[in-house]
């Protein structure tokens, strides 16, 4: 079980901001991938491609600035790494026999009550 801890008390604001920025970053990356794909298509004029690129660059710069100002660069990196791992492991798990992932537990073999 992976839990995202946004902290408590004074840390809450920073924790929450870390979470929000991480999500925004992931969204921005998805947009950048889509923009790269469209760059190749004939639908967009060179001017439109340039404008799209500038806008995305501006958003990225804004997010970077925000991370620096709030001192959450490391927190965002860590959270992203965890999320990456979570997703990849979830995909990997599809191939693995669920049984082999069970954690050890108590085992008492036999009988409902004592006596044999």
């Amino acid at each position: 079980m992976t839990r995202i801890d946004v902290g408590d008390g004074e840390n809450t604001r920073q924790g929450l901001l870390t979470l929000v920025i991480t999500v925004v970053e992931l969204l921005l990356e998805a947009m950048q991938r889509e923009a790269v794909r469209r760059m190749e298509s004939p639908d967009l004029s060179p001017e439109e491609v340039d404008r799209l690129g500038r806008q995305l660059a501006a958003i990225e710069a804004e997010i970077e600035q925000l991370k620096t100002d709030e001192g959450i660069e490391e927190g965002v990196d860590d959270l992203r790494m965890e999320l990456d791992g979570l997703v990849e492991d979830a995909i990997a798990r599809l191939d693995v026999d669920a049984e082999s992932l069970e954690h050890p537990g108590q085992a008492v073999i036999g009988g409902d009550d004592d006596g044999s």
């Binding site: 760059m39 340039d50 995305l56 492991d89 954690h103 073999i109 044999s116």
Partner: protein, 299 residues
């Protein structure tokens, strides 16, 4: 080995036998009714060897077959506490008994921490008899073999320069970016970054696939493990944090001494690749290769 259903209350117990492992006691003098082992168990309990009854053993059995014998101690209570240090001590103790049994009888069939057979010695005998074929097959499959664990960690991914030098297409995009308008250059730069990420990922896949096939060639069995070590209640494997690096793959293999040394040599080649580190640990008792027992016990 097997799990009890989720429950908050530990099962109650009047008589039980805590089982550490099952060993092959063939060729040993089992005349003494309860041979002891030179090691104490959880809470310093004396540990005994309980071989399968000779009647069951001789019944249409090949003499070369293993003789399953359970390594047990008598218990009247389950081992349950919220104190993690106490649990750790028990787990280490559990492991020590299995190691001692391995030293004395060869590769043991290890049981998970806290496996208890409900009942008295009769219950153990009954269980050994019931599981006889499974135990014999399992002991045969692990005889002379041990478990080894392999972790491949990337300490330093290939640099952007290295990747561009290898991939002319990416290098061309990079040159285009130098001449493009500001917005387009930004997108081209992103495209190069994405390309580098893809190349790094395909290197991981290549390393993992190649290693997996090498292991399959030499080991008797190979399991691929989750890349992030979870909480290992067995507590026997080194699962210290990878402070700095990306886990590429983790395997556990069952291998004899010769195969282990061949695998070690193959791993040296993997470790020689730039930025990669390989951890090869063992021999361990074959926890990952022990069979699952049916929870249906003696009636």
């Amino acid at each position: 080995m097997m799990m009890a259903p989720e429950q908050h209350q530990p099962p109650s117990l009047e008589h039980g036998r805590y089982v550490y492992c099952v060993v092959d006691a063939s060729g040993r003098d089992l005349a003494a009714s309860t041979p002891t082992l030179d090691v104490t168990g959880l809470e310093d309990e004396p540990v005994r060897l309980m071989p399968i009854e000779s009647d069951a053993r001789n019944e249409s059995r090949e003499s070369s077959e293993p003789t399953p014998a359970a390594v047990v101690h008598d218990c009247t209570d389950v081992y349950d506490t919220d104190d993690m240090r106490q649990i750790k001590r028990w787990v280490v103790n559990h492991q020590r008994v299995i190691d001692a049994a391995g030293d004395q009888f060869g590769t043991p069939l290890p049981f998970q921490f806290h496996t208890i057979l409900r009942g008295t010695d009769d219950a153990v005998r009954h269980w050994l008899r019931e599981q006889q074929q499974l135990l014999i097959d399992a002991l045969e499959s692990i005889a002379g073999r041990w478990e080894y664990r392999i972790d491949v960690i990337e300490r330093e991914p290939p640099s952007r320069e290295t990747l561009l030098a290898r991939d002319p297409e990416l290098a061309a995009l990079q040159s285009q970016a130098a001449e493009a308008s500001e917005g387009r250059a930004f997108l081209l730069e992103k495209q190069v970054e994405q390309g580098c990420k893809r190349l790094r990922k395909s290197r991981h896949t290549a390393v993992r696939d190649e290693l997996q096939s090498t292991l399959a060639d030499h080991a008797d069995a190979v399991h691929e493990l989750e890349r992030r070590p979870g909480v290992d209640l067995g507590g026997v494997f080194e699962t210290d944090e990878m402070s700095d690096g990306d886990s590429i793959c983790r395997f556990s293999v069952l291998a004899d001494d010769d195969a282990a040394s061949t695998i070690g040599t193959a791993l040296d080649e993997v470790a020689a690749k730039p930025g990669l580190e390989v951890r090869f640990t063992g021999p361990w008792p074959p926890f990952s290769f022990a069979p699952t027992f049916d929870e249906e016990g003696p009636a």
